[in-house]
Amino acid sequence: MTGNTISIPEYCLVLLVGPSGSGKSTFAARYFKPTEIISSDRCRAVVADEESDQSATSDAFDLVHFIAEKRLNARRLTVIDATNVRPEDRRSFVDLARRYHALVAAFVFDMPEALCQERNAGRSERDFGPHVVRNHVRALKRGIRRLDREGIRFVYRFSDPTRVDEVVVERRKLWTDRREDAGPFDIIGDVHGCADELERLLEDLGYRIDVERPPSGPAYSVTPPAGRKVVFLGDLVDRGPRIPDALRLAKTMVDAGQALCVLGNHEAKLVRKLKGRNVKLTHGLADSVAQIEAQPDGFADEMLPFMDGLISHYVLDGGRLVVAHAGLREEMQNRSSGRVRSFALYGDTTGETDEFGLPVRHDWAAEYDGRAKVVYGHTPVPEAEWLNGTICIDTGCVFGGKLTALRYPEMELVDVPAARVYCPPARPIAAPEPSGAGDDRTLKLADVIGKRVIATRLSRTITIREEQAAAALEVMSRFAIDPRWLIHLPPTMSPSETSTRDGLLEHPDEAFDYFRRHDVGAVICEEKHMGSRAIMVVCRDDTTAGGRFGVDGSRRGVVYSRTGRAFFPDPETEAAVIDRVASAAGRAGWWDEFATDWFCLDTEIMPWSVKAQSLIDQQYAPVAAAAEAGLGATVDALARAVDRGVDVAALAERFRRRQARAGAYRQAYNNYVWPVSDLNDLRIAPFHLLASEGAVHDDKDHGWHMAALARLCDADRALLFATAHRVVDLSDEAGIAAATAWWDELTAAGGEGMVVKPLDFVARGKRGLVQPALKCRGREYLRIIYGPDYDAPENLSRLRQRGLSLKRSMALREFALGLESLRRFVDRQPLSRVHECVFGVLAMETEPVDPRL
């Protein structure tokens, strides 16, 4: 203790240690609130009415623990007022503190025995014999020197009663606590010595960097944009080409109060190396050591205290923002313990390692539901994506990705591409795994049930909840087609935001607005066909089917629904459709053009009634029949009453309107119904060429897809037809007006409406992945969904209240999983890896979402 002031963290567990009569309670009462102090004597009285009833000690300590646990869980300073003289007394409290990530401070009252005996003698409630205090004193003496090895961080020892009266106990904030600092911040992911990219990124963010180059090495000075501050997420060092400069730049900014920097696992290891510990020179550490050695003398000595002084995380902006190298669970934020540090540095590892020898990570972010946003790095991802209020912005610059910054509170992502690959990633982004040749017998239940975390290229990891997987298992086991064919399931599609125009629930304006808001420049509007969604896998011949898909060769392709079921009840129709499409592909020259023996199409098959006839018979047609009969009879009865002069004119008018709407409902579903007796009555509209050998075509824009598919459709105009579409530049008001007029025309003619997609297959805005498609359904089509009377003004106003966020979040996750399954299939990964994604889409679809969206 320095001087007379003792400084303890404002959140910690304080243990008072000393014999009975050593002055603990008196001391505690002076510095701590009564509510902060848990006294074992007091708890003994609570459970047994007598403070001195030793038979109640065990129960009393249960109560002490219980209260302490509740307080620590709520992050409140807690003082244990008990003798705590034996190591085993202290251990349970130290364990408790550890569980709640609280540091432990001990105030030790090592007072002369005689003084304690004397004090106790004067107190009637302490009529225990002198041996009790004697034993306390002996026990304390035995353990007193080893307190710091018991996990107690701060030990303050008093052996002189006058000294106790002189000290002052102060509380200080935790190092992590910078809640008063509200930024704005520019948070930068793992630099790994990529100083070129760091300098460019800082400049892009508006920081001016001046460098002087004296012989002692470059000296930076940085001028930030007004009020802004950088946060480095750690891992400045290792692997990259300019590690010393990255350190210099960060240190300069931190020293100048222009930046904060948290500790990364690579700094932690480098610090140990520089301190002379025996550390293996792996994962790029050798680069740091070599580059530091090449620096002028004194460089290491300057940087060591800087790195050694970095802390695990910061809590910023009133607790709304947490930054940590590898992220942090809510219950660890603004707390301190070995586990907090280890989590912040290494993330949530399971202790296992994967096939590349790297730790298998548990996806804490998938379960995160904390109030603070958590920005972190550590795990390279292709793109920074928000998940549950967390975002990883390590976009693998040193591995040839890019260096990303998050502007807070603007939440904009700014990035600079890596000039080159400085270091090959240990865990490749497209890991070439041995092909399992698609044997469905290799599928293991353990690979699909339980909570699943699936890493996708498009988005970050996607979590499948255990109940979702459980619900999907029956469908997949009993109703889905052979999993060897099931290489993709399509994502769900959200409607556009609800329109407020008279009589409308949906309108293209909202779709265009959405994409404009998400930084999309051009969209494609495609006619939405009202049939049934079908995925089609088509092979050039039976041999391909056997070889590429690992099936027995009895068919050369499949047509399946969005839940993986066979589209056609009979194999003959399916085979005939596949033959026709394969022949068309041959005539269109596709096999050579794409150098492939198979392809996968996303299509709509019409008429709707071919799949939905039982739904029409049991639901839609009966509604129309009931409505027409009931409303017709009511209108007649009201007319007769009106003729008699009864005052029902308004009611009669109301029912006439309802009758008209019932007729419109009848017409609405009839637009999508026609009899099918054979293949000639079917119409198929392909709209995505999803994949062919060696390629997932998500890197081509929709214009390319439409053009390629138009050539296929031209080759069999009886069965196939190209989707009508138009590309719209979102800054072109005339183009938007024309597309809107087109929608009016389509829907007036009974069409379902249109689908608006970003022209790019995969589009990203400042806020991450953008919806791959939004549907704008026509007024009459929606009548089928929302019922005959939905557009009556009194109904429409209520129906407009609908939430899209769950649907949209599912659409993005399913989109990422669907493309991932194709990518894995194209990369010839094992069937289990393809299947896990497809299973994931099916599992997501078990989530209860408003079925009308």
Binding site: K444, S477, R478, G630, R644, V648, N795, R798
Partner: protein
């Protein structure tokens, strides 16, 4: 929906006094689900007609009246806002309750007198066909005429809908007519928009007093009125001094009942359980898997045998496993008994290491629910993966279907059966599997065998 009640009793306008509604006014009432209106399309001395119209709020049916609770239905595309249903019963009791109670302030003598009355209901959903209407109303003395509405006039081939315009005429007290409609409309519709509990039994008995006790269709009425809740139906019939008959399956009831009904005369399921239990006992197995355990009938039987120290039931459907746990009363089992048995969610077509190391597996009436193309995955997961010492497997014998009078030739016993095999087909499959995975196999039939078609169920016992 529309209910009209007409009379040509003189003066016909007395109908207004009986209904306590002035024929020249409009009588409107807000109800929880919409608005009910009574008016008179005609009101002369010779003939008077009252109309009750319901204007049901379709959004409230789904979203509920407040932000707190959802409505009783989950679809907007529903006939509920348009069809005659239990909503009409509610409206009758609210707007015409006094008349239904047989009271009239001005014309009590008339209320007590049978009058010539005609009621027309549009559109009346009549589940089970117009003959159900006949069964319900003819015994009460009504003459009936009906007009069926087509499902879709543009598609005559789709046939008729369940909706009728039904006209009932008779000389009855108005109170009786209203009471009959109140009880029998939901019976015809065979559904109700609200929860049915024990109150509903009392309501039925009170409203049925004087006519339901001797109604020849009282079984059907009680069952449908009480939403097929067997306990309530028994209670109602007991109070009508009537022992409940075993329920005969109706069209809409569970598909499983179909298969059971076909096989019921010989209690095939019980015999199957006995045969499988015997076969498992004979293998000497102590640790047994029941793959596709369903609701746990076999497990319950196996628990009675001390030889089986460990039983694990596996099914794909979580809700089926929940029901199995309830039926086996797992939560009330003695601890020692409870340790013998577990239920797992699993699948026959995925390799599952939790199933390794068992002495025997029972696969009872399960494989026919898998697509043929998935059978190799099942074979591999069980015979190569889990590899129990013995497998007892049963499946229907398709040849035997010829003896089911109710089964159309060529049809399978259960709508979810993906295939049914003849004895030769089954033997060929089982022999191939046994050879491939080094098991021995023997065959047996379960149930009374037919001289040509064999036994209804065929069983294979694999061992290694």
């Amino acid at each position: 929906m529309l209910l009209t009640i007409s009379t040509d009793h003189r003066p016909a306008t007395d109908l207004g006094f009986l209904l306590m509604k002035h024929p020249d006014r409009v009588h409107e009432r807000e109800l929880a689900f919409g608005t009910a209106t009574v008016f008179f399309p005609e009101a002369s001395d010779r003939r008077c007609t009252a109309a009750l119209v319901l204007d049901i709020d379709p959004v409230r049916l789904v979203r509920g009246g407040s932000a707190r609770a959802d409505g009783p239905f989950d679809q907007y595309a529903t006939d509920r806002p348009y069809a005659v249903s239990s909503f009409l019963s509610v409206a009758i009791s609210r707007l015409l309750g006094t008349a239904m109670g047989g009271r009239s302030r001005e014309r009590q003598d008339l209320a007590d007198t049978p009058l010539p009355l005609t009621a027309t209901l549009t559109p009346l959903p009549c589940r089970g066909g117009p003959e159900v209407l006949e069964r319900l109303f003819a015994p009460l003395g009504y003459e009936l005429s009906t007009r069926r509405h087509a499902l879709d006039p543009r598609h005559p081939d789709w046939g008729d809908s369940v909706y009728l315009t039904a006209t009932l005429s008779g000389r009855v007290r108005l109170a009786d007519l209203l009471t009959h409609l109140f009880v029998l409309v939901p019976v015809l519709d065979n559904q109700k928009h609200y929860y049915v509990g024990t109150d509903e039994v009392e309501k039925l008995l009170a409203k049925g007093q004087g006519w339901l006790e001797n109604h020849p269709a009282r079984q059907l009425i009680a069952r449908r009125y009480l939403k097929h809740r067997a306990g309530l139906t028994r209670a109602a019939l007991a109070q009508l001094a009537e022992p409940a008959e075993p329920q005969t399956p109706e069209l809409h009831e569970a598909q499983a009942a179909e298969e059971e009904a076909l096989e019921v005369p010989m209690r095939l399921n019980d015999r199957r359980l006995e045969a499988v239990t015997d076969a498992l006992l004979a293998t000497g197995a102590t640790r047994v898997l029941d793959l596709g355990c369903g609701e746990g009938k076999l497990l319950r039987r196996l628990l009675r045998e001390k030889q089986f120290a460990r039983l694990v039931g596996v099914d794909t459907a979580p809700r089926v496993l929940e029901r199995a746990a309830q039926r086996l009363k797992l939560d009330r089992m003695r601890p020692r008994q409870r340790e013998r048995i577990d239920l797992l969610q699993g699948s026959l077509v995925y390799r599952d290491e939790r199933l390794d190391g068992f002495d025997a597996a029972a696969v009872i009436e399960v494989i026919e629910h898998l697509d043929l193309e998935r059978l190799p995955a099942f074979e591999h997961a069980l015979f190569d993966g889990a590899r129990p010492a013995a497998v007892v497997l049963t499946t229907p014998n398709r040849e035997f279907n010829a003896t089911f009078a109710r089964l159309t030739a060529g049809r399978l016993r259960h709508p979810d059966h993906r295939f049914e095999w003849t004895r030769a087909e089954f033997a060929a499959w089982a022999t191939r599997v046994a050879n491939r995975y080094r098991y021995a196999v023997r065959f047996d039939g379960i149930g009374d065998a037919h001289s040509d078609h064999g036994a209804p169920t065929q069983m294979a016992v694999f061992s290694r």
